[in-house]
């Protein structure tokens, strides 16, 4: 009894004491050293992005200069203008369009399909639905790289090979387990009384889902949308194999043709401008919707 009291007082005192050193951000380093280490690391992490930006806005002559200039002497939008012109049958602007099409379609399909399935798993269980959920999670264990050959053949049978819709369906499928998992958890967290109230008020099951449940599940929806969009936007391997027509390539794969160079010379300014337009949407969306992105990532990872 006494020892418990002693411990409690000790603890409250120690809390009071830590108030001052609490400002220290690490228990391992003194504040000054902590700042030095973090600022150095931040410079290292941001350096490649700085290089990316200045390389993209240099004039073609400066972009190929030896030694490279540390900052652009002349600001030029030449590389971005050139993105629209055809480079040996390859227009990065149409690749950008393909990327957008594939990413948006993949995200929409994943969202709609995983919302319905997640809702069914959470609120409308039936005989065998537990087994189906387990089956869905098993797909997490198999990398799609391992089944890419038959995927190619299956798309061919369906007439969807070398087709952006086919590619989107494949990418949506591989994002589904994650989406279903997140959406099931979002719906499961909503108390049943809310749904019952809606049903009593005369809503149909579908109406209850759409009007009452869906608005509450918005954070889950945003997380799923973000992670799926990023995955589709950055996908390289699947596009490389399932799309055989250069004019249908997405940005990451188109850039591989640019980086291989024509007549043994790579247009580095143009390549990095292409990389920059690939990178910017991801970074901007991440910075704006960071909260949802991180929450989705954690809920999906710590399953």
């Amino acid at each position: 009894m006494t020892s418990t009291t002693a411990r409690t007082t000790l603890r409250s005192r120690s809390t009071a004491q830590t108030d001052a050193p609490r400002r220290r951000r690490s228990s391992f380093l003194p504040t000054g050293a902590w700042w030095v280490v973090n600022v150095c690391l931040a410079v290292l992490f941001l350096y490649p992005l700085y290089i990316l930006i200045i390389q993209a806005i240099k004039s073609p002559a400066e972009a190929a200069a030896v030694p490279p200039t540390a900052f652009p002497h002349q600001f030029s939008l030449h590389n971005f203008v050139e993105l629209g012109t055809s480079q040996g049958g390859l227009s990065l602007l149409s690749s950008l369009g393909n990327s957008l099409f594939v990413s948006v379609l993949t995200t929409l399909v994943t969202l709609v399909v995983s919302t319905f399935a997640g809702y069914a798993f959470a609120k409308l269980p039936f005989r065998g639905s537990r087994f189906l959920f387990f089956v869905t999670l098993v797909t997490f264990m198999v990398p799609f790289q391992a089944i890419i050959t038959p995927l190619y053949l299956t798309l061919k049978d369906l007439g969807l090979q070398n087709n952006l819709v086919g590619l989107s369906l494949v990418m949506a499928t591989f994002n589904l387990p994650f989406g279903i998992f997140v959406m099931r958890n979002s719906f499961a967290a909503i108390p049943p009384s809310l749904e019952e109230a809606a049903l009593i008020d005369g809503a149909t099951a579908f109406g209850a889902m759409r009007r009452v449940m869906l608005p509450i599940a918005v954070p889950g929806l945003v997380s799923t949308a973000l992670l799926t969009f990023f995955a589709a936007w950055n996908e390289f391997f699947a596009t490389l194999i399932l799309i055989t027509d250069q004019s249908k390539y997405t940005l990451p794969v188109s850039l591989s043709i640019l980086s291989a160079g024509q007549n043994n010379s790579v247009n580095w300014g143009l390549l990095e401008a292409g990389v920059l337009i690939t990178v910017i949407p991801c970074v901007v969306i991440y910075l704006i919707l960071q909260k949802y992105y991180v929450a989705g990532l954690l809920s999906g990872a710590v399953k």
């Binding site: 399935a117 264990m141 391997f237 850039l255 990389v275 990872a301």
Partner: protein, 284 residues
Amino acid sequence: MLGVVFMLPAMVLLGAFFFWPLLRTIYLSFFDASILGQPSFVGIQNYADAFTDSDFGQAVLFTVLYTVIMTPVLLAIGFGLALLVRKNTRVTRVFQTIYFIPVVIGMASASYLALYIWQPDIGPLPNLLGRLGLGNASTNLFANFWTVFLIVTVTVVWKVAGLQMLLLISGMQSISTDVMEAAKIDGAGAWQTFRHITLPLLRPTLALVLVFSVAGSLLAFDQFFILSGGGPENSTLTAVFQIYRVSFIQFHLGYGSALSILLMLVLGAVSAVQMLLLRNSDNS
């Protein structure tokens, strides 16, 4: 009944683009098949071939080497970053965000960026190293096994460390502060608290982070395809890269499927072993 209807689209997609191709991979792996022509049944010949195929053997060895080096490096750096910025204050959140930015950039984009940064003569880093007297700016770093390996490692660390950091921070923050304070009261120093409280309680997170980085490394493709093209002299071909070559350049679809099944089994085994190891040592 409505539940079945709601689930139907998901099951159709998973069936058509996951389970059907999966079954087909298994089926194809027993055939000598190419894109055109009639496949012929060869039994387990493809699997037997895989074990004597020196090209695939070399790719497997290289993939293992890459994984064995990448995993501890990533873990150490991710852990270091997590320890640095694990507190939840405005300033630490800014640094967390900076370290995490490369994660949202695709592996392909990161690789194209590294391809330029390390180019001989025009690349800024060889230039910088040359000026510091650490090498010649004109040396082609992509033509040598170890330098290209180092470039890939640095690129992947830059791109992935932030993810490991984030997962570890979330693990660290879920450890109750009561336990930490109790340890402090009992006279434990920073190192002791870390060794005896943080580390054991972090085991599930560590398992997760390890599975992520081992699986990611075993499946590596983009970074090698772009940065080394598998060279010099095929020395940086990974398992997935070799499967890609067998299936889509040489068009041996049956053999490629057998290799895929082997890769799948290895991945399954690795994550099972890792989970078991980390779970068992929990009781000690």
